[in-house]
């Protein structure tokens, strides 16, 4: 039986690289990132936008990749956890999470890193409350969020100091 493949060709910039991939019209970005591009850092915790583990940036906008059709990113720029550290240098959020032990099992961590990066680009000086509300869409079951928030606020401070210097 020869059924035609119902695939679309999509061109997008993924982590700074011009990329092309094939996807079904109904495939979500999270699935395509993981299965077609083998970028397994974006995790799927629920597939319905309730947990934030699949957080990515599309045109610098924080979204859940499970609620974006892969076809939508035609001509757009996508950044995943794999693209956060630049040239092997960790983003301050990544570094501070390590220093503060802001991860235990680590499954929520990629989503938290992406979301926190977006937070600090939007607001370089968030209060504790602002950080908590921004990150409310990133569920963590291990840490109780304490060390995550401390790490994010510490990263924010470091970034402000570097910018001022």
């Amino acid at each position: 039986m020869n059924k035609p493949l119902n695939k679309m060709a999509v061109q997008a910039t993924i982590n700074g690289e011009q990329t092309a991939f094939l996807c079904s019209p109904g495939q979500v970005l999270a699935e395509v990132l993981r299965d077609e591009m083998e970028l397994i850092g974006t995790k799927i915790g629920c597939n319905t936008g309730d947990c934030g583990a699949c957080s990515v940036l599309v045109n610098d906008r924080l979204v859940c990749a499970c609620l974006v059709l892969a076809a939508e990113v035609e001509g757009q720029a996508v950044q995943t956890i794999e693209g956060i550290a630049e040239g092997g240098v960790l983003h301050p959020v990544q570094q501070k999470l390590l220093e503060h032990a802001g991860l235990q099992c680590g499954i929520c961590t990629p989503g938290v890193v992406v979301a926190a990066k977006a937070l600090l680009e939007h607001n370089p000086n968030p209060t504790e409350e602002q950080a908590r509300y921004w990150l409310a869409g990133n569920l963590c079951r291990c840490t109780g969020y304490d060390k995550i928030i401390r790490a994010v606020l510490d990263a924010a401070q470091q970034m402000r100091e570097e910018a001022a210097a």
Binding site: M8, P25, G26, V28, G49, L62, L67, E72, Y133
Partner: protein, 290 residues
């Protein structure tokens, strides 16, 4: 998935054509309801029509007469890249309460409205502000109020081939402010158990000259409670006036009991929220004029 075709038209006429050629089609704005529905099996379009490449659908325009919000504009862009929050802080509060930052990066006021969940956060705030729906279809363009647009749980007034283009909110008159409050068990990430949108206008003496009270999640659709607004007009928003508005709102509410709350609780809380939202709108007016 059922989706067989994805198209991203660049014009309204192209979009309309794609919605009226017989295909089982669904429009896509943020996808935060549609794609969840597809995942859970409650939505099964064959064709998805992405609206986000059509300028009218994402434009946000503020002028002296009105505020026009493209139906597919994301909550995030409305909140952070437009003047809508300064005109309608209550509507902004409502949009800021939908889902998470990630959801707001995608979800749209138009989509939230068209999805017509009884608990949708944007709808009471839109109703309170007298928002109108700009609809286009095979028979041309027309407008209707938001409260008329939602006709039942998950049912809107769009006919075959019609499309919600934008929401139009008249610029509020001076000494007017809105507010939106909702009750959820957690601080975020929950569907509203009860929601209230309020818009008040006061005169120079603090007398209320106009009031719109809308309640959500306590009936099959969000409701404009005219009796609650009437109870406030002509008063100084003193305790008895507020109590009357609260009573009228509770009277209008006809909630169900479900996994998110009992009917008794919802009726009780919607009244609490009406009182608080009125106080918040009043405080906004007072602060703006001081």
């Amino acid at each position: 998935m059922s989706i067989q075709e994805f198209v991203a038209p660049h014009s309204l006429s192209e979009a309309k054509g794609l919605l009226s050629d017989g295909a089982i089609a669904s429009v896509l704005a943020g996808g935060t309801d549609l794609l969840v529905g597809v995942r859970l099996g409650t939505r099964s379009p064959e064709r998805v029509v992405d609206l986000k490449q059509i300028p009218e659908l994402t434009a946000i325009h503020v002028d002296s007469e009105s505020v026009q919000i493209g139906a597919a504009a994301s909550a995030f862009s409305i909140l952070h890249n437009s003047d809508v929050p300064s005109c309608f802080p209550g509507l902004a509060e409502a949009l800021d309460l939908i889902g998470s930052t990630q959801i707001q990066g995608r979800c749209s006021a138009g989509g939230n409205l068209c999805n017509a969940s009884p608990a949708a956060d944007s709808i009471p705030a839109l109703i309170a502000n007298g928002a109108q729906c700009l609809i286009t279809g095979p028979a041309g363009d027309h407008q209707m109020s938001v409260e008329d647009f939602v006709v039942g749980p998950s049912k809107n007034a769009l006919k075959e081939g019609e499309l919600l283009v934008a929401l139009i909110l008249p610029r509020p008159s001076p000494q007017t402010a809105d507010a939106y409050l909702r009750l959820t068990p957690r601080t975020e990430m929950d569907i509203a158990v009860a929601g209230v949108g309020v818009s008040l206008t006061l005169d120079g003496n603090g007398t209320c000259t106009a009031a719109r009270v809308s309640i959500g999640a306590v009936a099959p659709t969000a409701l404009l409670v005219e009796a609650a607004g009437a109870a406030l007009v002509g008063t100084q928003l003193e305790a008895t006036a507020i109590e009357a508005a609260v009573a009228a709102s509770r009277e209008a509410a006809c909630p169900i009991s479900d996994k998110r709350g009992t009917a008794e609780y919802r009726t009780h809380v919607v009244g609490v929220l009406v009182a608080r939202a009125v106080a918040q709108a009043q405080a906004r007016i007072v602060e703006a004029s001081s």
